[in-house]
Symmetry: C2
Subunit: 307 residues, 2 copies
Amino acid sequence: MSLTIIGSMAFDAIETPFAKTEKTVGGSGTYCAYAATNFMHAVNQVSIVGGDFPKEVLQDLNRLGVNTDGVEIVEDKKSFFWSGKYHLDMNTRETLITDLNVLADFNPILPKNYLETDYLLLGNLVPAIQRSVIQQLTRRPKLIVLDTMNFWMETAMADLKDVLTLVDVLVVNDSEARQLADEFSIVKAAHKILAMGPKFLIVKKGEHGALLFNGEEIFCAPALPLEDVFDPTGAGDAFAGGFIGYLASTGDLSFENMKTAVIMGSVTASYCCEKLGTERLQNLSQQDIDSRAAKFVALTNFNLQCK
Amino acid sequence: MSLTIIGSMAFDAIETPFAKTEKTVGGSGTYCAYAATNFMHAVNQVSIVGGDFPKEVLQDLNRLGVNTDGVEIVEDKKSFFWSGKYHLDMNTRETLITDLNVLADFNPILPKNYLETDYLLLGNLVPAIQRSVIQQLTRRPKLIVLDTMNFWMETAMADLKDVLTLVDVLVVNDSEARQLADEFSIVKAAHKILAMGPKFLIVKKGEHGALLFNGEEIFCAPALPLEDVFDPTGAGDAFAGGFIGYLASTGDLSFENMKTAVIMGSVTASYCCEKLGTERLQNLSQQDIDSRAAKFVALTNFNLQCK
């Protein structure tokens, strides 16, 4: 069983009410890969970086089982750079700087050993690139998960809607779901989005957890109530990586197991928020995963007395 | 086992994006009482109304087992009137008119047969009146639940903090919890509020469900995802009434049963939103309660595979 991930590998500068960093390694692909390796180790990474991207990070990912043959290194250019500032509620943020750099010319060619991947995670990126990755594959993966954001709804909606017809699971946040469906009610929005192609829709609600929709079925996962959210950057990517990593590790794509995968994504995302950057995702133990998953059980479990 | 409820009985005029009513029977006490009678029938009501309040509503409550000896009728005055308009998100609203009328001189004297009540629900009202009700009792109830709102935090914080030392459960929404504790993080706010007196804190989050705090323990209940929220007026009162009604009917005040009570409160609140005013709360069957409670199980239930 193999998982291919495509996403940015980049530098971030982050300011939160509780912390500030000048330049730290980030990018959707980096977060997704670290998150997934907590559940499985046959990960193929597709991305592009500049000569400034630390080789140690690629080596660290290799050590965790991530094949980086699909990471193009453009030695004489700079890596993608994003700078943002979080508001007090930590659910909303402001983008200060976006320097595309190498990402401006990204046109990934998948290595041959990636072409029969079992699972595919399309991290947040230009929809046309996400589609080109699907089209290069020689075998339809068992599961394709797509992450996207409002920016692509505003600039490339037609492409996005086209890619949506090709994927199994869409992951967005609540405001993006409303925007994509042009519908305020999340339940109505979900019905419209499921009619666009994906069989499953995950709506992330930050500190309010996540909803999983499949036909008429709904699952509601809480977020772990945290005293402090240190840095939410990458939490959505960590969620997606943990979600598909768990599914790939179990090979069970039933709705029941999707629910557990949403919990595992939430577990991974909750750890991600505890430290700046990817740090906390790099050293999770099975014990860490299990103990936090048990917290989600305690958080949601209740008894119904039969009358 | 008996439950005493104090709260307003009033007229509301409500405007939502989906519905509008000129004048309908409402008030925190009315919603709480109707909600509680879905679980038990020995309810004592304490309130004040004008000569304009429909006698049929009092008779309807009597039919459901609600003793209205404690409802003072001031024939030559008008009932409390509230008018409000909901925004599109249905979580925020604007008060258009507040005519206190009879409520301005409310100084309840509990009937003798109320003085040894087993359970007490102090609906949203002037904190000093809530305190006077507790002080009139000749025996400490098994459980006192207090509902309040931001208005009393702004106008009567000292009284409110004093009443908080006398109660077991506080029910507020998330912005009220933040305001009361002067703390943005809900988890930190909860710790501060529990140190003010209540052993249990319920934080209502509208469409995002509710959190129950007790010492270091947290329970997270979802809200039922609804296609349309027809009218959220009274949903918080319906929650409180369903919560304490269920606890009174079972007599079990363990944290485990409190969690189930939060679900029963959520079940009641979800029905409340389906129609304007108290209408939907008046004709719930055991089958209605059971089937919706089962939906909450389906919504939150997941399996953890042991590795």
